[in-house]
Symmetry: C2
Amino acid sequence: MDQRQTDEKFMRLALNEARKAFEEQEVPIGAVVVADGAVIGRGHNLVETLSDPTAHAEMQALTAAAATLGGKYLQKCTLYVTVEPCIMCAGAIGWAQIGRVVWGADDPKRGFRRYSEAVFHPKTTVVSGVLAEECEALMTSFFASLRN
Amino acid sequence: MDQRQTDEKFMRLALNEARKAFEEQEVPIGAVVVADGAVIGRGHNLVETLSDPTAHAEMQALTAAAATLGGKYLQKCTLYVTVEPCIMCAGAIGWAQIGRVVWGADDPKRGFRRYSEAVFHPKTTVVSGVLAEECEALMTSFFASLRN
């Protein structure tokens, strides 16, 4: 399996997480953290369910992954998330010094790049646009459902 | 009690939280969230204890406050924190649309203003420098203790 196929495989798992959020009437964003080919943390947006403004998919996936590894750094891990992280989650990714970040759909309005592109650790590599259409379609469908 | 006295009173509570972190060999930062003159959330840095890069004082205080109020927004609240928030915590403060943020010591290296000053909600007011010397002294003392 080449890198692109691997990235799509794990993004599908992040999409499964996002669908859980959708079913719970949450903004449908999902994330998984992968190390050595295995998922070691996952999460979906739970802001409304938990009444917690910090309960984004990435925060939960990062917290779970760090708990699995027993340390605060995730240098050898990849975070897959269906939508470009916000500045809060980007800050968390920076603290974790995660090795690689892969996201699906861009988020020009709330994405971290609106504020600063320098939040991640300098060694973190970034890939965007993986299954972007599916990730974006889930968001579009969710916000359309709110208007009905 | 005028505003300055009120701010110093609650910053002393945040300093108490920071001292708990110090005793647990954590970077000594503490925070409280106040609404209508009452503390509705508190937290101290627990990154090492929990092996969680997101377990900053502010994150825990905001999560606790939102749980107390039963909603994700904290517009009528003030967050007191002993040190200028990092970009992750600033992002969380932005999502919570908190009414007022008061911090003690500036953090030129890790503080959010290094990245962007526009992360908070436009209506959030900011006060810095409250009991700054005490907040700073606790940090200096902690990092000095690490070198011994």
